[in-house]
């Protein structure tokens, strides 16, 4: 009885000792030197792991920021405050953070867009509608009103408006860009917050079809392109604003019959 007890004790003790020793040696031999800055930078980051910076997560961004392969102002969520903290840790000057906001570039809501004769019965998500039949509206380019952008937003900054179009709550938005990726029709785009003029349509349909499926579409009449001195160019029946040479004074807002090109305040009432 006694010897049995001692053998058991010795075996377990020995095993434990061997493993502890092996792990201790392994810890010394396999230690990875890590830049202590990475941890410090990771601490000042928001920790939402949203991927808005273009890296896999906050830690990944911290690694790149510590190596100076990512800019200290690269975190769109943290904004100026985080950029300042990171710059202080790295001992450099912080660049100014330009705030980016998502813009929903379609105004064809339930009232404006013409519905199909058949109703859509199926999963009420944009990705499913886009795959199956293209949803309820006749327009092949417009918002599907399924709310994939709303569900994708980790910050609750997207809400579905009464008209079946998503709206951005700017005070909650961090500019992570998840809604942009969620939209199967590429209607949502990230733009600097101070950018005001947009073409609120993505339709490449010919003028006749455009006009028949939606009352606020860009029909491709190209009046804006002719009057604006190169600020607006036409691409396959759709007006595209060239923001590098944009001169707001020259854009003939009143000439646009469907008011597809307009200032953003007018949309938000």
């Amino acid at each position: 009885m006694d010897t049995q007890f001692l053998i058991a004790l010795a075996t377990m003790g020995g095993l434990g000792f061997i493993f502890a020793g092996a792990l201790a040696i392994a810890d010394k031999k396999l230690r990875v030197e890590e830049n202590p800055l990475i941890g410090d930078i990771n601490d000042v980051l928001p920790g939402a792991n949203c991927g808005g910076c273009g890296y896999a997560g906050c830690y990944d961004f911290a690694c790149h920021a510590a190596d100076k392969t990512a800019p200290s102002n690269g975190c769109p969520v943290g904004g100026t405050e985080t950029a300042l903290s990171i710059a202080r840790l790295l001992g450099e000057e912080a660049g100014e953070v330009v705030r980016f906001l998502p813009r929903v570039l379609c105004r064809g809501g339930n009232v404006e867009a013409v519905k199909k004769y058949s109703t859509y019965h199926g999963p009420l998500t944009c990705s499913a509608m886009d795959l199956l039949s293209g949803g309820d509206k006749l327009c092949f380019y417009g918002c599907l009103s399924g709310g994939d952008c709303v569900t994708s937003c980790p910050f609750g900054a997207m809400v579905m408006g009464e008209n079946g179009l998503p709206e951005v709550i700017e005070s909650l938005c961090t500019g992570c860009g998840k809604c942009v990726k969620a939209c199967p029709r590429y209607i949502i785009e990230m733009h600097p917050a101070n950018r005001k003029v947009f073409v609120f349509c993505k339709s490449h349909d010919d003028p006749k079809t455009s006009k028949s499926v939606c009352s606020v579409s860009c029909m491709g009449c190209s009046i804006c392109a002719r009057k604006s001195d190169g600020s607006v160019v036409m691409d396959n029946n759709l007006a595209i604003i060239d923001y590098d040479t944009l001169d707001i004074e020259k854009i003939p807002f009143e000439k646009c019959t469907t008011k597809a090109i307009r200032m953003i305040e007018l949309v938000e009432k």
Binding site: Q4, I7, A8, T11, M12, L15, G16, F19, A20, A22, L23, A26, D27, L30, R31, V32, A56, D60, G122, P123, L124, T125, S127, A128
Partner: protein
């Protein structure tokens, strides 16, 4: 032939997850996305094979000759915990991207009962060294298979119109049950 039988039986017929109900926690927890499910499966397979080798040695070279088979549970847990720690350190040193990809799944394996189950089954069935390795490999393959199938189904379920009370965990458990029933079809194979 025996080795192949052991492999197939552990992977499909007596699938660890779907017929022994071992390792259910990662099966439900990590089957949201296909890529992470696959990473988890590979990491677990790796640890399963290593555990098979080390526990076989400890069981047959130390515990059985000394008549200490009642210490199997304790020593196996000790082995698994230290092994996972070691593997984590080793991967961190040799391959940073792999370490980053496996992330939290690696430490999670420590408490995965599939590993302890494997060690105890091996001891119970008196497998030889080679048989143990194939058993571990088969168990790992079966685990990965179950996880990947489940993740595939769950990715599709995201789009499905599920009745409200069934959303989330309930539908996952129902799916798991159906999957287990499907795997019962293999029971006559061997």
């Amino acid at each position: 032939m025996d080795l192949l039988l052991i492999f197939l039986s552990a992977a499909i017929v007596n699938n660890f997850v779907l017929s022994y109900f071992l390792g259910i926690c990662p099966f439900i927890g990590v089957s949201n996305k296909l890529t992470s499910a696959f990473s988890m499966g590979v990491a677990t397979t790796f640890v399963l094979v290593l555990t098979a080798v080390v526990t076989w040695m400890i069981n047959n070279l130390i515990l059985l000759p000394a008549g200490l088979d009642y210490l199997q549970y304790v020593s196996f847990i000790l082995v698994i915990a230290s092994l996972v720690q070691f593997v984590e350190m080793f991967i961190k040193k040799t391959s940073q991207p792999l370490y980053r990809a496996l992330g939290i799944y690696l430490p999670l394996i420590t408490t995965n009962c599939a590993i302890l189950g494997l060690a105890l089954f091996m001891a119970l069935r008196d497998y030889s060294m080679m048989e143990s390795i194939f058993f571990g490999l088969g168990a790992g393959t079966g685990f990965t298979l179950a996880l990947v199938i489940m993740a595939g189904i769950r990715e599709e379920l995201e789009l499905a119109d599920i009745p409200k009370p069934f959303r989330g965990v309930p539908i996952t458990l129902i799916t798991a049950g159906l999957l287990a029933m499907a795997f019962m079809g293999f029971s006559g194979l061997i």
